[in-house]
Structures are given as structure tokens and as C-alpha cells.
Subunit: 333 residues, 2 copies
């Protein structure tokens, strides 16, 4: 009877040390592409598979991060997930991905599942209300754009400053009556601070403005077109709009194009997020860029740093940036 193939057999056959083979298997340290290929070839030939599950069991914690997203098929969340997985992979973490559809009971279930899988930490990208006391978990839980009263680390973008930048830019472009499509009816979230910054600038500069929260169901459907139409028909004097996400801004562009309202001549529009959608609209969108790469890097760093405790309850606020494109007047691309 053949005995089980071990890492020593692989090393011997490949003419390498056990340490080198181990580095290839664990994807740690510098390994040339040729060495990697050689080890993989021998592993296949000898039918050797390192058992990551056994390794994790002996360590009682895996090198896996759990990520809980509300949706994936949404330009902001797919942008954020793309960056999170890039950073996690660079840090030699695997990613267990969960999608909650913004349902809090699903989130709780996922958190239990991730704990049972001994993840090194959880990144929770969801504005839903707290359903379990995150600070009672014995692993780091990093929240992104989530209102939190629990003692865990949170990351948000500077939503207030985003509102300030948008209002100042619209006013500097000559707008006389402003509108902010902001927030979600009946829901409290960090993004609500965009309206505060926006309102403060308008009041400071004596510019009339309105703030109209959007409907959650339109966000789910990624279609605010009926909502935009309803509001803008009521209010034809508006000549500058700050929309709280790029999808809402794109729907506003569609309304203007359909109704022969020239952009940026008669209407100036600013979005939020700077997702790929912003650059693909015609005219393309001026928008507030979220620091998505920075958010992702910080989230993974906090998991590494807080590995043995979850006492870090700081709220990290990362800066946003105004990206000027055609919907507020720049010509060309």
C-alpha cells in the first residue's frame, strides 16, 4: 500500500527545500514564476494537496476574511468589492463573500457562519441597523459606511465634505436654485451627512435649496427615473442638482435629455461615488469621488492590526474629491 504523499516528497522530487515548497503553497515571500510552476507540476504529478482545512484547524483561526455586501450588482459595491479583494489577496488572505440583500436577518446568519469558519475578521459593508452586538465578537469586525453604536472600527468617507464640495461647485458654476436628491426615506445612514454639508453652504450663500430623500425600492431596482420625473416636474426652477449616487445622477441626465433641458446650459448635475458609470454617461458626470482604494486598504489593515482583540472603536473618516466632468460644464472628456 502506498503511503500518503507528504511535502517532503514534493520537495525531493522538485529538487527544492521543504521551506521553498511551503512558501509556494502558502504564497509567502518572493518566489519566481518558474519555481512556482515547478512545484505545482510536481504536486499534480504526485497528486499532493496540502490540506488548508487541517492547517486552519490547528491554528484555530484561518487566513480568511469574511466580506458581507448588501449587493454586488451595483456600481459602488462592485467597485468597493473589487478593491477589497485586491487588497485582501495582496495580504495573503482568502475571501469568503456573502450577499445580504440588505436583510438584517441574513446578515446575522452570515456573521455566525463566518465565526464558525474561524475567519480572521469580517468586513461589513451594509447600512442596515445593528442586529447583533458586533463588539461581543472575538474577532475584528470593520464596518464601512454604516451607523454604529457598537464598539467596533468603522470607516466612512467624508460625506459632510462631499455635500460642501457639491454645493460650492454648483454655486460657483452660476446655479441659482439647488436640489439635493439625498438619503433614503425612513433610513438613517452616514451618507445623510451629505445633505448637512450641502444645506450649510446653501444657507451661508443665501441660495434657495431643497433636499428630497429617495425611495429605497428605487435604489434596489437601480431605477430612479419615475422619482426624478415626479420631483422635477414640480420644480422647474431648479438649475443645479446634487444626486447622492451616480445612478441617480444618470437618471437625472436621462430626464433632461428626454425633456430637451440642456446640460450643463440649463441644468448642472453632480453625482456621488465616481463609479465607472460616471465616465460612461453622455454627457459624462461630474461627481464626488469616494476613496474606495483607501477604504479597502484601511479595512484590511485594521483586521491585521486588531487580530487579537476587537477594542479599536475608532471611526475613520477618509477624504473625498470633486471630479469635474461635462455635466457641470467642462467640455470634452
Amino acid at each position: 500500500m502506498k503511503t500518503k504523499t507528504t511535502i517532503k516528497d514534493v520537495a525531493q522530487k522538485a529538487g527544492l527545500t521543504v521551506g521553498t515548497v511551503s512558501r509556494v503553497i502558502n504564497n509567502r515571500g518572493y518566489i519566481s514564476k518558474e519555481t512556482q510552476e515547478k512545484v505545482y507540476n510536481v504536486m499534480r504529478k504526485l497528486n499532493y494537496q496540502p490540506n488548508e482545512i487541517a492547517r486552519s484547524l490547528s491554528k484555530q483561526v484561518s487566513n480568511t476574511i469574511g466580506i458581507i455586501m448588501p449587493y454586488i450588482n451595483h456600481p459602488y459595491f462592485s467597485l468597493l468589492l473589487d478593491e477589497l479583494i485586491s487588497v485582501a489577496t495582496q495580504g495573503s488572505y482568502k475571501v469568503l463573500l456573502c450577499k445580504s440583500n440588505s436583510q438584517t436577518e441574513l446578515e446575522s446568519g452570515y456573521i455566525e457562519m463566518l465565526l464558525a469558519n474561524r475567519v480572521a475578521g469580517i468586513i461589513l459593508c451594509s447600512p442596515s441597523v445593528d442586529t447583533i452586538k458586533l463588539n461581543e465578537l472575538r474577532i475584528p469586525v470593520i464596518t464601512i459606511e454604516r451607523n454604529n453604536d457598537s464598539a467596533t472600527a468603522g470607516i466612512v468617507c467624508d460625506n459632510y465634505q462631499g455635500g460642501v464640495l457639491a454645493a460650492e461647485h454648483l454655486i460657483s458654476c452660476g446655479c441659482k436654485t439647488l436640489l439635493h436628491f439625498g438619503g433614503v426615506i425612513g433610513k438613517s445612514m452616514p451618507a445623510d451627512r451629505r445633505a448637512e454639508g450641502f444645506a450649510e453652504v446653501c444657507e451661508d450663500k443665501n441660495i434657495p435649496y431643497r433636499i428630497v430623500p429617495s425611495r429605497q425600492e428605487d435604489g434596489y431596482a437601480m431605477d430612479y427615473s419615475k422619482f426624478v420625473e415626479d420631483i422635477l416636474i414640480q420644480d422647474p426652477s431648479v438649475d443645479g442638482i446634487f444626486a447622492s449616487n451616480d445612478i441617480l445622477a444618470a437618471n437625472t441626465v436621462q430626464y433632461c435629455v428626454k425633456n430637451h433641458i440642456s446640460i450643463p446650459g440649463q441644468m448642472k448635475i453632480i453625482g456621488f461615488d465616481d463609479t465607472p458609470l460616471a465616465a460612461l454617461c453622455a454627457p459624462n458626470l461630474t461627481t464626488i469621488q469616494q476613496p474606495v482604494k483607501g477604504i479597502a486598504q484601511l479595512a484590511v489593515q485594521l483586521i491585521q492590526k486588531n487580530r487579537f482583540e476587537n477594542s479599536n472603536s475608532a471611526l475613520y473618516v477618509l477624504p473625498v474629491q470633486l471630479i469635474v466632468r461635462e455635466t457641470t460644464g467642462r467640455k470634452g472628456k
Copy 2:
């Protein structure tokens, strides 16, 4: 010294059977929300965590699916990933997500990592060339939109039929000179069959046409605007364009808007994929819808079915559908 908390302790404290607690933990069968909450509360109170890693070790295969995507921040791939994770979750699978940036050496590494983690199967959504013999793996590997010569199950949409539908629709709308932005220079992929279907209809109906492959780097950057401009300046007689993805179609809309070419009056445009972007353009995009939900369901079913062997080498071709919107003439939304 306190002994380790067991599932029996949880059941006793919750006043439920061990079977019910086990069903909650494993998320199997019907469990009311209240029962679920009760079990989770007791688990937290007793600090009980089922060890999924130990469970997987004893089974030698986990209830985890590995998904390898080339990118996530791309409307088609985020749409596909969203559906895949929904279907996997419904099937009580967890998902280990990997992003390859279309680099074949990264793909090989991920496959080894997923094998080491004893995944139940791998879903490989990448058009890259084969780098390891997928049929030698002892778990099901399901490929999506990938050219395969290996004996594994593959799923593609009916790319040929997509090309036929696009050409027939443009011709029926009155276009006289057609162009297809299709494929990627120097790369062979199932999507190339779109050009075949398109060309066949044009030749059949004696309509002049050109097929121009796009540049890989523009796809990575999600910006084909320079490419579209270069081609359309050369060829002002074109009045109907079939673009091989919605991003390319959106860039074509931008070119027309910027150059005062009316859509659909002087130019009719069809995209491919029916991502959310298609409905958010102004005018919004007529496009060929990929059966993304069907693809995701079939991929997970094939993993369940082929669990103990990987002998299923069929290629599954799922039907596409023409979605008519404003870029080929429908008015309104």
C-alpha cells in the same frame, strides 16, 4: 475547569432538539426566524461556536464553491457574480472568491489554493487560455464563456445567435452600412461567434459591413472612447453599430452625442450583456441580454451533480434575447 460547550448544551438551554439546533447551524430545512434567533442567542450566551473547519475536515470536502472572476468592477462580471452568489447561497454553499485580473498564472495559483481548501467545485469565469489541465482535477470545474479543449463542463450564451439578432434588427430598422465592434485583437474567445452570426446575416441580405476587433487594454480601462473615435472618423457612412459589450456601446453613444450625430435618427446602436448600464445611458441601449440568472443556476447545479466525478464535458449553450430600447428607435423608456 469548565468543559467545552457542546451542541447538546445549546439545545437544552434553548429548549429545542439537537436536530433543530443542527438545522439552524447548517442552515438546512425550514426554520422560523424566531427559532433561528433563539438558537443564535443561546449560542452567544454560552459562547458556543460550531467549528465548520473541523466539520469540513471530517468530511474531506467543504460546502464551499470557489469562484474565479477576471474582474469584479465591470458591469457584466458584477452582474454574473451577483447571480452566482445568490444561487450558491440558496444551495447552502459558501463562496470563496478570487479575482485573477485575467492573469493566467494567478488563476493557476487560485485553483491550487481552492483545491487545498477542499472546495466542492470551482466556477471559472475567465476567457484566458488554459493553464492547467482542468480535467485532471478531482472536483467539478465549470467554465463560463471560456474556450475549452479540456474535458470539463462549459457554459456559454448563444453568441452566434446574438450576432444574428443584432444584424437582423439593425437591418429591419433601415440601416444600410453596418459595423461590428467585436472580439479582442489577438485573443480567441466564445464571444467571437457574435461576429460570425452578424457577418452571415449581412452577407445573406447583401448589406455592406465591417468587423473591427477592440483592444484588450481598452477593455481593462473600461474606456473605448479613443478607439471608437478612430474607427468612426474613418468610416462616416456607417449608420448601424453592434458593439460586443454595453461599455463599448455607451462609448459609441458618447461619440455620437459629442459629434451631433442623432441617435437613432442617423445612427442606431446595439450593445451586448444587458447590464444595468444599458438602462442608464441617454438614450438607453438596445442590447442583447445574456441569460445570466440561467447561467448561474446551471453552474451551481452542475457542481452538485458532478460532485463525485468531473466527467461531464458537455458545452451548454443558453439562449440570448434582443432587448429593444431607444438607441434603435423605441421612444420613451
